[in-house]
Assembly symmetry: none
DNA sequence: AAAAAAACTTAACTTTAGGTTAACCTAAAT
DNA sequence: ATTTAGGTTAACCTAAAGTTAAGTTTTTTT
């Protein structure tokens, strides 16, 4: 099974969160929640969800503001964000799109519409990054063929190493924290020792060249050409 | 050789049609065109293309509407549809997916991206059940005759083995997950044990040579020459 | 219609790739 | 100099795939 899409719901009402969680989990999504914008931002950074549902009306940091901040974070730049608003608040919609929203869901939430919108949004974001081949500095990655080519030589990587490479190369130059990596590749619930990542990084360095995998001490790793 | 995929382009600007036709024919596709949604629908019914490129903005019947109508026609239900939009018309994209689009191509059209998207979309849309003969590395597959020839020797494969071979060979080199395989050959709902696939793979290896069927542990299988 | 054969699935068991850990080492930062 | 994060290695362990044979089901033959 392809990894379950992860959805973050941010709302100050626990009721709404419960409703969303219930409906989305039923559809097979992995759901995480936050009770305010600030928490939402934190969770988003940590969990790197595929889609975020943001309530517009929240105390302290409202949806707009949260959205703007999320859009500032490189690792979340391509995450789909949809707002939750009261019906017919046209005005907020305009502002919302300016803040970087991708869609709006109106309250009261109709379960069927919610699910179909979510599906459509995820589908939309899907085809983009499915382009199978990436090529950076002599290294080609073909996700469909599960094959890496370095300077014309094909290399067969084990699953975890491949996934790690795909992750790091998805944003060359960007630092991924250990936490990022664990969440993306292992999932938040799985617990593996600290050294595990190092070992995989080591293998990658061995196979693809030391110079491409940089350590940022105290922060994480990045892939560079 | 598998039959050329047929692509229908619908746009109200002749310039765009010419550009698309030129680029796609160069890649070996068969191209037909229509200057508006209504004509597009007619041509689609007649030609049964494998993929349709629809401009969103057209007078009279726009892309969305055309798309919806196309989806109503049973013989075109599985045709891949991709929209042509001006850059960053996010909102129309959402509506587009709801109308049944599979992907979007943004104007201005970048030739390489266009071609790679088309390729990816056609590949994903699954094995074309039209073109009958495939030949890869000493193995010939004739889907019409249900016949496999290895190094000139005809081999009679049972149904499941044959289907599995056809699936894997439909995209040589590409890894098919167990889930992929189950969905394609057995259908979404049928439940068969995990080991069933292995057994069929084993039979294929036995009959057609071990080396052609690679295991990607934790991922799936692929067929290679 | 019964018997036989072929194909398909399952179950039980073995094998193995590769993922994880633990223990120790090294280098960078304070 | 001390601390701490990361690097390295090899042993260990496990989930996934391979194998085989024994049921089932389906198809063909008589």
């Amino acid at each position: 099974m392809a990894k379950k899409p992860k959805i973050l719901c941010v709302d100050d009402e626990q009721d709404i969160l419960d409703l969303l969680t219930f409906n989305l989990e039923k559809e097979g999504y992995e759901v995480c929640t936050a009770l305010n914008g600030k928490k939402g931002l934190e969770v988003a950074k940590k969990e790197l969800p595929d889609l975020i549902i943001l309530d517009v009306m929240m105390p302290e940091m409202d949806g707009m503001e949260t959205c703007r901040e999320i859009r500032e974070i490189p690792s979340l730049r391509n995450t789909v964000i949809t707002f939750l608003t009261a019906r017919n608040e046209d005005y907020s919609q305009i502002a919302g799109f300016e803040a970087g929203a991708d869609d709006f869901i109106t309250k009261p939430i109709r379960q069927r519409l919610l699910v179909s919108k979510i599906k459509a949004l995820l589908r939309r974001s899907g085809p983009m990054d499915k382009g199978a081949e990436v090529s950076i500095g002599g290294i080609e990655i073909d996700r469909e063929k599960y094959l890496v080519t370095k300077d014309g030589v094909q290399i067969q990587l084990p699953k975890k190493e491949f996934e790690l490479l795909v992750l790091l190369s998805s944003a060359p130059g960007r630092v991924f924290t250990r936490e990022n990596i664990l969440n993306s590749i292992w999932g938040n619930d799985v617990i593996v020792g600290d050294r595990t990542i190092d070992v995989h990084i080591r293998k990658l360095r061995e196979k693809l060249g030391d110079e491409n995998f940089k350590t940022i001490k105290g922060v994480g790793y990045k892939f560079e050409a």
